[in-house]
């Protein structure tokens, strides 16, 4: 992926370095926590999966029992039982209630079934076979119980699956994108700060060098000036002016009586 270890564009100051460091600490901690969450969710996932497999197997058995019961009821009460049952459908007396359960931080739905109202059974089995009809009804109710539980397991399974995928995505993003980027930014800022420091240091040294040379030059110039002065004085006393165009007014007024102003 291009730009995988790019760095963020920041101003390389000491404050930004502090900010980046704290962000890196946060990212590391978040990564560890998310990894733990993903592991916990996977454990739950596998447990639910096992339960689903066993429940599905037993569901096959239960359905067989209930269909046997229905065949018996049909045999005893006559073929019309289907139509009578169909006619009798009004309001459902078996309903499900859905709640949310919090498992390892993930909200999972859970179904539980409950009976509401009374079961309409006015005409079924009145003629004959009432007991078989009741047995059939009981078998079917048991089947429904199991099916509701299975549906509950299945939905938690699917929800967990998605939650695990999202968490893993976040873990990978932190590990492979966010942290390297932050680390690169920190290294860049450190490099820039070092370079600035070196620049400053270098500049300082250079200026010190200049100053030193300046002082030396001034010392040398002053020494030479002093020597020349001395030499001039000496030579004036002897009457010769050495190269120096000294001030006639000031120097001459002191010693030469010929110059009168």
């Amino acid at each position: 992926m291009s730009g995988q270890s790019q760095r963020l564009t920041v101003v390389p100051t000491v404050t930004m370095l502090g900010v980046m460091k704290s962000r890196l600490v946060g990212a590391t901690r978040g990564h560890a926590l998310l990894k733990k969450k993903s592991d916990a969710l996977t454990v739950q996932f596998r447990q639910i999966l096992k339960k689903i497999v066993t429940t599905k197997e037993s569901m096959g058995e239960v359905m067989k029992t209930s269909s046997f019961a229905l065949t018996e009821a049909k045999y005893v009460a006559g073929e019309n039982i289907k139509h009578i049952v169909l006619e009798n459908v009004q309001n459902a007396s078996l309903k499900v209630r859905s709640r949310q359960e919090n498992v390892a931080g993930v909200k999972l739905p859970k179904f539980e079934y409950f009976t509401e109202g009374e079961i309409k059974n006015d005409l079924t089995g009145l003629a004959r076979g009432g007991q078989q009809v009741q047995l059939c009804r009981a078998a079917n109710i048991k089947a429904i119980e199991l099916l509701v539980e299975l549906a509950s397991l299945q939905t938690s399974f699917l929800t967990l699956d998605e939650a695990i995928k999202t968490t893993n995505r976040r873990v990978n993003a932190l590990e492979n994108v966010v942290k390297p980027r932050l680390e690169n930014t920190i290294n860049y800022i450190k490099g820039e700060l070092d370079e600035l420091e070196r620049e400053d240091f270098f500049r300082l040294k250079k200026i010190q060098g200049y100053k030193k040379r300046e002082i030396e030059r001034q010392l040398a110039a002053a020494k030479q000036f002093a020597e020349e002065q001395f030499a001039e004085k000496v030579s004036l006393q002897k009457g010769i002016s050495l190269n120096l165009a000294h001030n006639l007014l000031s120097a001459g007024a002191n010693k030469d009586e010929d110059i009168i102003f």
């Binding site: 229905l70 078996l94 089947a143 929800t159």
Partner: protein, 130 residues
């Protein structure tokens, strides 16, 4: 996570059924059937004359209705609309495949178990080779 609460908590939701006559009769006897004010039922009896389109429509209707929490569907019916069942990915309502009298339960075709086939070894339920 805020903003992702698609899980409805309801106090009374129905169980829908798309199955053959005997299975539906059995469940109706137990009291799962419901007819609402518009004479719409929460079950569909599938026989040899039912078209695939009717099954698809019923499936779509059951999965979009707010008050249905579980949809029971016979496995051979699910095979007819396999693509619809497989592309359905909402947690509620839950789609449950049940066996019927003539077609015993076949784990290899179950839409949920096939999704985790890779997690199992070759000798387990979902691979269909027991």
């Amino acid at each position: 996570m805020a903003g992702r609460a698609e899980i409805r908590t309801s106090n009374s939701a129905l169980i829908a059924m798309i199955a053959d006559e005997d299975t539906v009769t059995g469940f109706l006897l137990a009291g799962v059937g419901n007819i609402d004010l518009r004479r719409k039922t929460n079950y569909l009896i599938v026989d040899s004359k039912t078209t695939v389109k009717a099954i698809e429509d019923a499936f779509k209707e059951f999965t979009t209705k707010e008050n249905i929490a579980i949809v029971l569907i016979s496995q051979y019916v699910a095979n007819m609309i396999r693509f619809l069942v497989d592309s359905y990915n909402k947690p509620i309502p839950a789609i449950l495949e049940i066996p019927s009298k003539d077609h015993p339960y076949d784990p290899a075709h179950d839409s949920v178990l096939s999704r985790v086939k890779h997690l199992f070894s070759t000798e387990s339920v979902a691979s269909g080779r027991r």
